[in-house]
């Protein structure tokens, strides 16, 4: 898979216009997000008081991160006590280097992976290819996009932008499917046969981690396909890559988070497979890897702690905000240009971006402009299982962008504020507006005017402003 994410080679507008211009994409994304929304709604209807749970979860995530460093230390200590190895990775490159060195040491040729957004973030597959490993994604959606040489477009349903015919096309072109099938069950059966072979030959299994639980040194993996169980039990070595904030201290805390993850993400009571792993195979145990490694990935996360954006670290990656976002609904995930799409991505990407580029906070225009991928409609805040104030965070990012805005934009707002903070000047601009109605047909031809008039009529401007009518006694 190429690691050429389009974030810095195109603008948000270019990417969203391309997506909006693709009716098949819009139909696929629309149908899939509608399905997720319906399932979530019915899952929440079975709860006594979902808002109380959300509020409790926000509190729990806040408690965990208030004691973040110590909780991570406890996790690391207990992983080691269980016989596992721990790698602290300050950057994505550090994580990749560690994993590549393990792969080389054990002579790994084939690597099987289950879905992990953290390794999308680090570009792990390219790093493994560089040391001669053939890496196979085993989550069905991830495998599809790996074959198609694309990127995930949704954090829990990476290939949701493709329909069954497009999946069949991909299997024919890239996976040697000779007898075309398009029924989902048949497509799954094909993938299952192909992937089974790869599981058997793999030397190394790599997973993400939905949650690390510090008190027992365990990681939790949530899937609906069971592939993570194969990845973690068949190869000799298992490496889990965990975003450093994906942690709970206790099982009580983990229980709350995992329940919300399934209900808000896929509308399930609990995911089909919830796997708890606590280190390598013990002496008395029949299954499990010889070696277990936990890579704790920072990659910009600790820079977010203590800032006005700290609540973003509470995110449990359920995808609920993507499913309700009307912008995501139109564009799908690729328009966001990097690993994390939708409202959570529009916040997280600019926050993590300084790690990727070495720019100071707010200086990376390409990442920063993602804060504009929202009408501030608030649907995301309402949908978040841990009550992250996504809209407020988007506004915070826009304020940060404004500090780095160009002279033209700053001057425009300054002139606007100067005029509209003086009632006399405001009245004058009102008069100008009514005069401008005769010029209205020209407005669409002004630079930038087509941004409104391509696709919309110009509004009719009134002959008299409200104040003119009021002063004339005509109200």
């Amino acid at each position: 898979m190429s690691n050429e994410w389009p974030l810095r080679s195109s603008t948000l507008r270019e990417r969203s216009a391309t997506a909006v211009g693709d009716p098949v994409l819009r139909a696929n994304v629309g149908a899939a997000t509608d399905r997720f929304r319906t399932k979530r709604t019915s899952a929440l209807a079975r709860l006594h008081d979902p808002d109380a749970l959300r509020s409790a979860a926000r509190g729990v995530r806040g408690d965990i991160l208030a004691d973040w460093a110590a909780t991570l230390e406890l996790l690391a200590d207990n992983v080691q006590a269980n016989g596992g190895h721990v790698c602290w990775a300050p950057t994505g490159a550090d994580a990749n280097d560690y994993i590549a060195s393990v792969a080389q040491r054990i002579g790994a040729r084939t690597v099987v992976k289950s879905k992990s957004m953290a390794t999308e973030e680090t570009g792990l597959n390219e790093a493994l290819a560089a040391v001669g490993c053939d890496t196979v994604e085993t989550d069905l959606g991830e495998w599809i996009i790996q074959l198609a040489e694309e990127h995930p477009s949704h954090i829990i349903a990476p290939a949701m932008h493709k329909n069954r015919d497009q999946v069949a096309d991909t299997f024919e072109a890239k996976a040697g499917m000779t007898e075309r099938v398009t029924e989902p069950t048949e497509l799954v059966a094909f993938a299952r046969r192909e992937l089974r072979r790869r599981f058997l030959e793999a030397d190394l299994g790599i997973t993400g981690a939905n949650l690390g639980v510090a008190e027992t040194g365990s990681i939790v993996l949530v899937t609906n396909e069971g592939n993570a169980r194969m990845v973690t039990s068949m190869p000799r070595v298992h490496i889990a890559v965990m975003g450093a904030e994906r942690i709970a201290r206790t099982w009580d805390q983990a229980d709350l988070v995992l329940g919300l993850l399934a209900k808000f993400g896929t509308g399930q009571t609990l995911s089909s497979y919830t796997t708890v792993l606590s280190g390598p195979r013990g002496e008395d145990e029949a299954d499990g890897p010889d070696e277990f490694h936990l890579v704790i990935l920072d990659n910009g996360r600790s820079d977010i702690a203590g800032t006005e954006f700290a609540e973003m670290l509470n995110c449990i990656r359920c995808g609920s905000c993507l499913n309700v976002c009307p912008v995501y609904h139109q564009t799908g995930g690729h328009a966001y240009g990097w690993v994390y799409p939708g409202p959570m991505g529009a916040v997280l990407t600019p926050l993590l971006a300084s790690q990727q580029t070495g720019h100071g906070p707010g200086e990376d225009h390409h990442a920063g402009e993602l804060a504009n991928a929202s009408t501030l409609c608030g649907a995301c805040m309402e949908a978040c299982p841990v009550e992250i104030p996504l809209q407020d965070l988007l506004l915070g990012l826009r304020r940060r962008n404004a500090e780095h805005a160009g002279l033209a934009e700053r001057s425009m707002w300054r002139a606007w504020a100067a005029a509209w903070s003086r009632p006399g000047a405001y009245g004058a601009s009102a008069t100008v507006a009514t005069k401008a109605r005769r010029l209205a047909p020209l407005l669409g031809r002004l630079p930038g005017g087509s941004r409104w008039t391509d696709g919309r009529d110009l509004p009719d401007l009134p002959a008299r402003t409200f104040r003119q009518r009021w002063d004339a006694g005509d109200v």
């Binding site: 009307p326 826009r398 940060r400 409104w452 919309r456 009529d457 009518r469 006694g473």
Partner: protein
């Protein structure tokens, strides 16, 4: 605002109208209708001099100081009106009402003016979105008659719905208007795609969002009613470009037409 449902407007008689910049410049028929409806409900309506805009365009673009400068002008004007005896400040736009009541205290605070932030918080107690106030008045204060029969839908605008938590009031008022039949609209509470500068920063997505609402209008819909003129402008101009026949109308205008015997017109 959590205390909103507890505010008792029964005795409100003196009202200050915040016109909004869209009402002033683009849709003056909306504040005109609001004045007439409020008068019909027995209110003495003043339109305080010196008010301009709530500052939302700059606030949503991240330009805090510029937003605070403009909002401060309107804060001064509305505060003077309250000092002169206005019991309620009424805003005929859910988005601007949200800006004033929910965001002004934060805006002034971020701009370094804690005194203005406190003043905004105090003012906010008296700020009502138009339908929020009208619905809270005893029914007998606002007699509503009939309008020419029309097939309508109601657009539930985002800020009003999710941040001001004014959800049921507009449709409760429309239900009191004979002839205005509001149909179920699957996309009623979806964003229209306007979003201020969003509409020109990502115009393709903005138009697609409007389309998604327009595509599922019930068969035979004649008018889209809403409480935010800017959302209605987005939907109307997109519908026009598509050659659709549907109109838009602000709820104040529907209520104005439903006033018996022109009670709202200046005597």
């Amino acid at each position: 605002m959590s205390d909103a449902p507890d505010r008792r407007p029964d005795g409100v008689e003196r009202v200050a109208l915040f016109v909004t910049c869209v009402g002033e410049l683009v849709e003056p028929d909306v504040p005109v209708a609001a004045v007439r409806v409020l008068r019909a409900a027995g209110c003495d309506v003043d339109v305080p001099e010196g008010q301009t805009c709530c500052g939302q365009p700059a606030w949503n673009s991240g330009f805090t100081a510029d937003a605070a400068k403009v909002a401060g002008t309107s804060l001064d004007a509305l505060e003077r009106a309250v000092a002169d005896g206005a019991e309620a400040v009424v805003v005929p736009a859910g988005s601007c009402a949200t800006m004033i009541r929910v965001y002004w205290p934060q805006l002034f605070s971020l701009a370094g003016d804690e005194a203005a932030s406190d003043r905004a918080r105090a003012l906010g107690e008296r700020v009502w979105e138009l339908t929020e106030l009208l619905d809270a008045l005893p029914d007998e204060r606002l007699g509503l008659g009939s309008v020419e029969p029309c097939a309508a839908v109601y657009h539930r605008s985002c800020h009003m719905l999710r941040e001001l938590h004014v959800a049921e009031q507009p449709e409760a008022l429309l239900a009191r208007v004979d002839g205005c039949v509001v149909a179920e609209w699957a996309a009623a509470d979806q964003c229209c795609g306007f979003g201020g500068t969003f509409s020109v920063k990502l115009p393709e997505a903005s138009v697609a969002m409007a389309d998604e609402k327009l595509d599922v209008l019930p068969e035979g819909t004649e008018v889209i009613v809403g409480a935010d003129a800017s959302c209605l402008m987005q939907l109307r101009t997109r519908a026009g470009a598509r050659g659709m026949q549907v109109r838009t109308e602000h709820i104040a205008q529907v209520l104005e037409r439903a006033l018996p015997d022109d009670r709202g017109a200046d005597a």
